[in-house]
């Protein structure tokens, strides 16, 4: 039983009421051993029955009277509070109002002073922050400008070798006169032989020739 209850509590933690933990939950069926049990009817003698009925009736009547009394009193108090038309209550209310206003003024003053202080503090913090930010930004800008100027300088240096319409013919002539052959051959030993037309001494043949 405990394990079942425990599992139920784990799966439905919101439905199970801890206050009712000593009871079997409502949705569990009648136990198998109790299913055909017919509870014995309590035997109450006629005398006792009559006396109980009298006592209970009296109790209910009295309780109804008490409830009614308090309900009516509540209604009466509520209505008097709501109306509040008498002069005394109005005067009391005005006094209360003045007192409340004074208190409110005082609170407002203290809170205003606190607020001023806090605002000044906030302002200094903000100024510091913005100054730091501006400085950082300036620094960043300066760095970027210096980087850019360095790049420009480099480009300007490179600029002298550019081909322009003026020196086009000259350049073509120069290139044609100095042709560069990038082809090369490579042998098994890793020797490179530049150029397509260069002469290659075949070592094997040389060896054969020497022999």
């Amino acid at each position: 039983m405990m394990s079942q209850r425990y599992s139920l509590r784990c799966s439905f933690p919101l439905i199970i009421q801890i206050a009712e933990a000593h009871r079997k939950p409502r949705w569990l069926p009648i136990a198998k051993s109790k299913i055909y049990r017919i509870p014995k009817r309590p035997e109450i003698s006629q005398e006792e029955r009559l006396e109980l009925r009298r006592i209970n009736n009296n109790y209910n009547t009295k309780m109804r009277a008490i409830r009614r009394f308090y309900a009516e009193e509540w209604v009466r108090e509520k209505s008097t509070l709501e109306s509040a038309t008498s002069e005394m209550s109005q005067r009391l209310e005005a006094d209360e109002w003045l007192r409340c206003e004074e208190l409110n003024e005082m609170w407002n003053k203290t809170i205003a002073a606190e607020r001023e202080e806090r605002r000044a503090q906030e302002l200094t913090i903000m100024e510091e922050y913005s100054l730091a930010r501006m400085e950082a930004k300036d620094k960043d800008l300066r760095e970027r400008i210096s980087k850019a100027s360095a790049k420009i300088r480099k480009e300007k240096e490179l600029c002298t070798t550019f081909v322009t319409p003026e020196n086009l013919e000259e350049t073509i002539d120069r290139i044609l006169s100095n042709t560069v052959d990038y082809n090369f051959a490579i042998d098994l030993k890793g020797n490179t032989y530049q150029g397509r037309d260069s002469n290659i001494q075949n070592e094997d043949k040389k060896i054969q020739a020497s022999n």
């Binding site: 006792e48 006396e51 009295k62 008490i66």
Partner: protein, 194 residues
Amino acid sequence: MTTKVVKYVGRTTDFKGKTLWEIVGSLKNFGVGRLITRQVFQRYPEPTFMKIVKVETCPDEERRRVRVWVEKTFRGRKLPQLTEIYRTSYKPDYQLVHKDEEEKLLQAAATVKHKSDILPNSIEMPPLMKRFIMRDHEKKGVQPMKEYVMPLSYKHSPNRVERIAEGDEKPTIEFTMGLGTPVSPTLYEGIPLQ
């Protein structure tokens, strides 16, 4: 052949008889004009019975019920208006009065001496409540009450035999905050009351 014996199984009940439809449905003209009684009303010494005036059957969904209007005589006092029986008509507590017994019942009802009991309309407060109210009034500065009584209210019922006191009428039945006078003093033997 075995004898026909009905053996009831389960919880017992105070009811005795049939449902109203079982009675009314098997009678000529739905039993208009016949007398019926209820077992639970037999606890009073005065006769209580009802005369069927009008019967309306109910739709199939409400097959255990029937709507019946009756002239009710409760504890020998005939109620001025007809009573409708619908909500309680399913209760197996109604009994048909034999035709030869009707006259006897009617005569018994006619010879009942009506008591003119008057119920109080106010009751004294309980002692603790009195103290509370006294202290409350002192605190508020209101002048204290002269008599610590509160009004009584009773459940509305057309069956009420007693009358509720009006104004300063002297009631014949008194309710006090104590135990009161017991109905069966044998239960309190050896116990000093008050």
